[in-house]
């Protein structure tokens, strides 16, 4: 998957979990949990959608690496087929 496809997948997943959020205004380095007010249930939903879209099952220990939009893209680009 290209970086562009991964970026689209991440934003789509965020959109599902936080429908009201304004993703356009999301800074690449912003903390997702705070910026989008995601609780643990939302974040699990986000990770589950990423797995469905990219095939990458993120273990709980790696959650920290998905703290920001950029982090997510980098993490997934390295692993997605």
């Amino acid at each position: 998957m290209t970086r562009e496809q991964i970026r689209a997948a991440v934003l789509a997943a965020l959109g599902d979990v936080a429908p009201e959020a304004d993703l356009a205004a999301l800074a690449p380095g912003a903390e997702l949990r705070d910026a989008l007010d995601l609780d643990s249930m939302d974040f699990l939903g986000f990770v589950q959608r990423l797995a469905a879209a990219t095939g990458v099952e993120v273990p709980e220990e790696h959650y920290a690496q998905l703290a920001t939009l950029e982090g997510c893209i980098g993490y997934l680009a390295a692993r997605a087929a």
Partner: protein
């Protein structure tokens, strides 16, 4: 005047065939009568001599009216004795005689089937006239039982009607729950997101005020070591696909549900001056809405569902709450509410009980803290569990046993 037809009420004497003084024998034709359908020859059933003709030709008289007086064979009144008129004259419309193939007693030939009836009248316009509030029969019955004033309610049922859940929610609002979440369905087409959020706020305010006014709260709290629970969870999630991954919240809910079965005074309602234990454990799960407000729809039979099912239903409940697609019945059924489940970033939470429930469990943030055990100091992931309970229904001793049960259950996560 004899009855000359099944539906005859009266007859007009057309012509006399006999004159006073004339002798008559049984079976003779004595007169002609018009029954509006036909002119019929009238027989006489007595022998005798005509004394007097009582009804002149051209006059219409009811069946049973004596027509003439007879002397001789029998002094009884001539012609058929005036029968006691059958009160309910048989009224049948068919021309006499209807062809017997048509059932004789049937009304006139059935009019052709009416054109297809117009489509059933469109259901009442959603905007019921202001005066008449539409309430379902069940909602009316429950409102009477819970002493809820219907006028103050906002209906979420079909066509905007007030349904049972609306009433029960009014009687037992969640700390912040009341009207449906902002993304309400067509039920209240008028209210936009802003109005709905305001509606939620107003309803929460009213409920909280009432709760504080009526319920003598007492509060208990304790810290629970989650190290064994979280370790078990990490190992469990490592073998599970992402889609079936568990969260600590599921463990906390499960522990509360099982503890509620052990200490029944926490699980039920205060109604009409007495505690009514609930027959099942439906946990109200506090879910915060990004547009403000918190609702606590019920997770049914949390004590009987395995962890995986509980987790899946919890996820589904949160998703549908956020999407505003909750069923009205899910609001009113909670028997005990659990709030915030460690997501709030604060250590301790003391909630407000939702009447008519009698208890509320609050969980603070799960965080690593110093912990002394066997004389040694260590660092453990701890959570503060609090209980707000209704002193009318239970007392501190029972509340304490409840929290210690939650703690004990969380020390054996594999059994949850």
């Amino acid at each position: 005047m004899p009855s000359l037809g099944a539906d005859m009420e009266a007859g007009t004497l057309v012509e006399w065939r006999v004159a006073p003084g004339q002798a008559v024998r049984r079976g003779d034709i004595v007169a002609l009568v018009d029954t509006d359908k036909a002119v019929i020859e009238v027989e006489i059933w007595e022998d005798g001599i005509v004394e007097e003709l009582l009804v002149p030709p051209g006059r219409k008289v009811p069946v049973g009216t004596p027509l003439a007086r007879l002397r001789g064979a029998s002094e009884a009144a001539p012609a058929p004795a005036a029968p006691a008129r059958a009160t309910a004259a048989v009224s049948m419309a068919p021309p006499e005689p209807a062809p017997p193939s048509a059932p004789p007693l049937a009304p006139a030939r059935v009019s052709p089937a009416p054109a297809a009836p117009p489509a059933p009248p469109a259901p009442l316009a959603a905007e019921a006239p202001a005066a008449r509030v539409r309430v379902t029969p069940l909602a009316r019955r429950v409102a009477r039982a819970l002493g809820v004033d219907l006028a103050a309610l906002h209906g979420t049922g079909p066509g905007g009607a007030i349904v049972r859940a609306d009433v029960e929610r009014a009687a037992a609002p969640a700390p912040a729950a009341a009207a449906r979440p902002p993304a309400a369905a067509a039920a209240s087409p008028v209210a936009g997101p802003a109005e709905r959020a305001a509606g939620l706020r107003r309803a929460t305010a009213a409920a909280m005020a009432r709760s504080k006014r009526e319920i003598p709260h007492y509060y208990l709290g304790t810290r629970i070591d989650l190290s064994r629970a979280l370790a078990w969870l990490a190992a469990e999630n490592a073998q599970r696909p992402v889609a079936e991954r568990l969260l600590p919240a599921a463990l906390l809910l499960r522990a509360v549900a099982l503890a509620a079965r052990e200490v029944a005074e926490m699980n039920g309602f205060w109604l009409e001056g007495e505690f009514r234990p609930a027959t099942a454990v439906h946990l109200g799960v506090g879910i915060s809405l990004r547009s403000g407000g918190l609702v606590a729809p019920a997770l049914r039979d949390a004590d009987r569902k395995p962890l995986a099912v509980l987790m899946r239903e919890l996820g589904d409940l949160v998703r549908r709450t956020r999407a505003g697609v909750l069923r009205s019945s899910e609001f009113g059924e909670a028997t005990l509410t659990v709030t915030n489940l460690g997501d709030q970033g604060v250590e301790t939470v003391h909630g407000v009980i939702q009447p008519p429930q009698v208890a509320l469990v609050g969980f603070g943030r799960i965080a690593e803290q110093p912990w002394a055990e066997h004389g040694l100091l260590g660092v453990r992931p701890l959570v503060h569990a609090s209980l707000a309970a209704d002193h009318r229904a239970s007392d501190g001793h029972r509340g304490g046993r409840f929290l210690t049960a939650v703690d004990r259950l969380l020390q054996e996560p594999e059994k949850l």
